[in-house]
Assembly symmetry: C2
């Protein structure tokens, strides 16, 4: 059995006060609705868990009807930090789940092909992540004022979501992070702690996260191009 966890619990404070970025609309559909539709269209997925806040429950129930979603879905309450929300999602998975794809709700351009490719790679090797080669020249700065070190661009990858795992592996990885009291920015970082290699799955098209209002027109453009 394969499941998807869509993380949609954050308040997105960088979007300004009283704005829930996940419900900003593009083409009449909220951002998180686009994300949901992508996963809803992958036949290999058996269930979708949406991790969110209690106050958004009615909005998601309405959205499911509006989008006429096909795959079974459930709401799960999120935690204080992203890591807690992911943990709550993992706790709520159906016991038979073998592969889980964890997705940022605010990443609506993720393609079905990309979702499938991370699932295949995770089945094969245990852990996989959607990623793009970094095309910018990247420097390290300790103080944010001057360049400290040049990084070799050829080796750099920007990781996105889905981050997809064999369930037993991501559970063990996050438990280890919790035991050590670590707060991690992404789920693949936890795999490093248990020596689990993470496969890079290259995104064929841009797959950005909506973080600030200025990201919206670009994401709108991408969604229009993808059709």
């Amino acid at each position: 059995m394969n499941s998807a966890i869509i993380v949609a619990a954050g308040r997105g404070t960088r979007m300004g006060p009283n704005v829930d970025k996940l419900f900003l609309e593009i083409g009449g559909i909220p951002i998180v609705g686009h994300t949901w539709q992508r996963f809803d269209g992958v036949a290999e997925i058996d269930e979708i868990l949406i991790v969110t806040r209690e106050d958004l429950r009615p909005a998601f129930e309405e959205l499911a009807i509006e989008l006429d979603v096909q795959l079974p879905w459930r709401l799960v309450l999120g935690g204080a930090a992203r890591q807690d929300s992911v943990a709550n999602g993992l706790d709520a998975l159906a016991p038979a789940t073998e592969i889980v794809a964890i997705q940022d709700g605010a990443r609506p351009c993720t393609t079905k092909a990309l979702i499938r490719a991370t699932m295949d790679a995770a089945r094969e090797s245990g852990a996989a992540v959607a990623a793009m080669r970094v095309t910018d020249t990247v420097k390290e700065s300790a103080d944010g004022r001057t360049i400290a070190r040049h990084l070799d661009r050829e080796k750099l990858w920007a990781v996105q979501t889905p981050q997809t795992f064999r369930v037993s592996i991501i559970r063990r990885a996050l438990a280890t992070a919790r035991e050590r009291g670590l707060v991690l920015t992404d789920d693949t970082a936890a795999c490093e702690l248990i020596g689990q290699p993470v496969r890079l799955v290259e995104s064929a098209t841009p797959n950005p996260k909506v973080t600030v209002p200025a990201d919206l027109p670009y994401v709108e453009l991408l969604l229009r191009e993808q059709g």
Copy 2:
């Protein structure tokens, strides 16, 4: 005296055969024309050198008339690699030039405020570069297949252009690179060789380089937003 060098010599092979990306038009003006206009609007600049290929000379002469450029400008022949083109530009600078801003011709969204800010920083500290904080989670991979190392995003900056220098400093830095037979991807990397610190000047708005055809709609959107 302050000068700008616009590097416009590359063939942009990633754009496909027989396409000179610099002359792809956005809003009726070639990409390199937008770039030129930004520098043409900075009163503190005394002269603009455009480093390009012999076969593009007529196109640039026509463009100057079309754009009705105000600042004095000259064409300089480029070299085989970017580094050679920059060197040719530096060799051609007026002897009185103290500060030089080196710009990718294919980066048309660079604002006048950003150009000025890098000039001020270079005057103060010798070397400065336009840059943006990296918002993606970045991983290092040795083989391009699996993640080798997590990088601390807080310390990462994507550098752009202008890269702006006191002329004496960039000349010494590039001469050192040449002596050591190094091919560098950007001019600030040469400063590292001579122990010259490079100041980061944060771009307030996106400042991407047009590299593949898919970049065009995004850049068009940015130019429209900037007005």
